[in-house]
Amino acid sequence: MNDELSLLERIQQHDQEALTEVYDLYFDQIYRYIYFRLHETDAAADLTSEVFLALVVALKADKPPRTSLVGWLYTVARNLAADYIKHKSRTVPLVDELIADDPPLSDQAHWTQLIPIMKQSLRKLTEEQQDVIALRFGQGLSLAETANLLKKSIGAIKASQHRALASLARLMPEVDNE
């Protein structure tokens, strides 16, 4: 926390070393978050790059992050991901089409085939639920960290997580209980 604060203070002074440190520290984290939202490698990489370029632009405009650097980076990432999803017209196969020819899911070899189905299903969640899932499962953040980044209570994040998993479970093929 103190490191983040000191980093924040240094980037406010346009310290180039600190800005390099920020990039190396948070690039993968922000990329994973955006990737979890988009499931497109190239787009996620481009948007991640845009997040950091936005930081430079903000510094040039004398509007640097004031209180939380990580919070600021995630907010920009969320906005960029949301814009991307909203504006890009894509033709993606439906979940039903993806699972139409799937063999029984009890076979471990087909486990990985579920991942694209899950990715497709994620897009059907609300934006907040997608955020919660991306941060909790894509980033491995705790409930408290997720709540802090999304500026919600832990209770609200728990509820959102529950609803999101319930929706995803409904969209997944039948679970093999064996």
């Binding site: 406010q12 002074q13 346009h14 180039q16 800005l19 390099t20 990039y23 690039f27 993968d28 990329y31 994973r32 990737y35 490698t41 190239d42 996620a44 990489a45 991640t48 790059s49 950091f52 370029l53 430079v56 510094l59 040039k60 486990w111 579920l114 991942i115 899950m118 899932i133 909790r136 499962f137 894509g138 491995g140 409930l143 209770g155 728990k158 509820a159 997580q161 529950h162 998993l165 319930a166 995803l168 479970a169 409904r170 997944m172 679970v175 209980n177």
Partner: protein
Amino acid sequence: MNEQFESILDECISALQAGIPLEEILAEVPDYATELRPLLYAAMVLADPNPVLVPTELKTALRSEYLKQVSTLPDTKRPTLNEKAQAIYHIIRRRLTYKIVLNDLITITVTAILTLTMATLILMVVAKDSIPGDLLYSLKRLSENVQLLLPLNESRQKELQQTFNEQRLTEIEQLMQQNRVAVVEFSGVLERKGEKLWIIEGYAVLLPENVTIEGQPQEGNLVHVMGLLRANHTLVADTISTK
């Protein structure tokens, strides 16, 4: 109930993330197993063990582009204490031109005068009903004296003096009603002149041994009395002078 389930769900997710098999987790919470199973199953698929990473080449290229942009940032070093002091000095110096100082002085003076005038006027209104011994009584007398100093014609001056003297007599009445001790003064006709007791304007005035009598007041003369009104309503003269 829902809140409790959400907490159990979260604990199970943590257990899953810690690598505990799904069936073992569900065995710990048999009452919720049916409800939890599809949710934890979804959570297992979400926790992709092999996340897709940015290709190294692309990452290097993006980093170079970022660092290129960073290098264009202007320097914004924090001002030192000395630089801050100099900046303050320059601001003060800029403020210290003859015209600005004069303007400031005029503004301060006018504001002070207006404030004082307003305060005095308010106090005078409040002091109007005060009687000797009250906190604001001296202000009431000051205001009367100022009015008497104004260049007025003789009849108006006399009228004012008479009004103020009537005020003094009313004040004595009020003091007597409240049984208060106070230094009082008033003007009135000397109606009867005894050895130690004079009747002036209807009031019995005691003359102690050290009383100062200015002039030679005679019955029927207008005299000015300064003295002490006691709680028992007796008025002890300090000075009696002919007007």
